[in-house]
């Protein structure tokens, strides 16, 4: 066996091993895995029902939320890395400022990603989030 083939085999084994360790161990470090799974299941069931009744801006806002906000605020908007967005007691202007300006060290600015119509759609969706 040439040294090149040996190198190839060792390289493959190491790369797959490292990826295997990463993919194998990561789920163990994910916080509250069981709780999150249950919550996601409930959220999915709820969102199937709730997104059915969403219309117009709120429906479009849900799409934007799902793509850009859910990774931090949770699929169900009840908070994950970022806070829950249910029962927001903030004005539309304040929400717009936060979305466009971000929160230093906590939330990025979405000014380049969302135009005014997008922000309005997001706010319309957020206003549907009530317990």
């Amino acid at each position: 066996m040439s040294i090149e083939v040996k190198g190839l085999l060792l390289g493959l084994v190491t790369a797959l091993g490292l990826l295997g360790v990463t993919f194998g161990l990561s789920p163990l470090f994910q916080p509250n895995k069981t709780t999150d799974a249950n919550r996601e299941q409930q959220a999915n069931a709820a969102s199937v029902a709730s997104t059915d009744v969403l219309q117009g801006d709120a429906k479009r806002g849900y799409g934007l939320f799902d793509q850009s906000c859910a990774p931090c605020h949770g699929d169900d908007a009840r908070g994950d890395e970022g806070p829950s967005l249910y029962n927001l007691a903030k004005s539309d202007a304040r929400i717009t400022t936060i979305i466009k300006g971000g929160v230093k060290g906590e939330m990025p600015s979405f000014a380049k990603k969302f135009n005014d119509a997008d922000v309005q759609a997001l706010i319309a969706y957020l206003r549907t989030l009530k317990d």
Binding site: G11, Q30, A70, P71, E106
Partner: protein
Amino acid sequence: MENSLWIKMHGGTTHFPIALVMASALFDLVGLIIPENLEKSRRAGFRAAGFYSLILGAMGSIGAVLSGLVISRWQLWGRGNLAHHHTFLWPAFGLLTGLAVWRLVVGNHASNRAFRIYLGIALITAALMGAAGYWGGELLLKG
């Protein structure tokens, strides 16, 4: 540790492997283009620079991946821009590890043909890392 510190750490550590892998591929490419008979020592110099850049890049990538996993709460895929980031990141990370090990094992004993194949894969890896970095930037700056 506060999450914003991990974000800064990820931003800091992740640029080293991206730059080093790109530099490594560039050094090796130049080393391959230089005529061997005329510039033997210079060619060896470029190969050595390519080698050390790659090894340092591969070592640095472990820190970058670790800090990235912490800030994404150990999500391996995610959604939106995070999913785009990971789509390019995981193949790049695997390829980079494999290339570094291959290079460590083979040293200077690679045939010209094998080295050309290696270089092709290294260029693909550099492009994948660049794409992962782009989506990482989109994720941190635009969400």
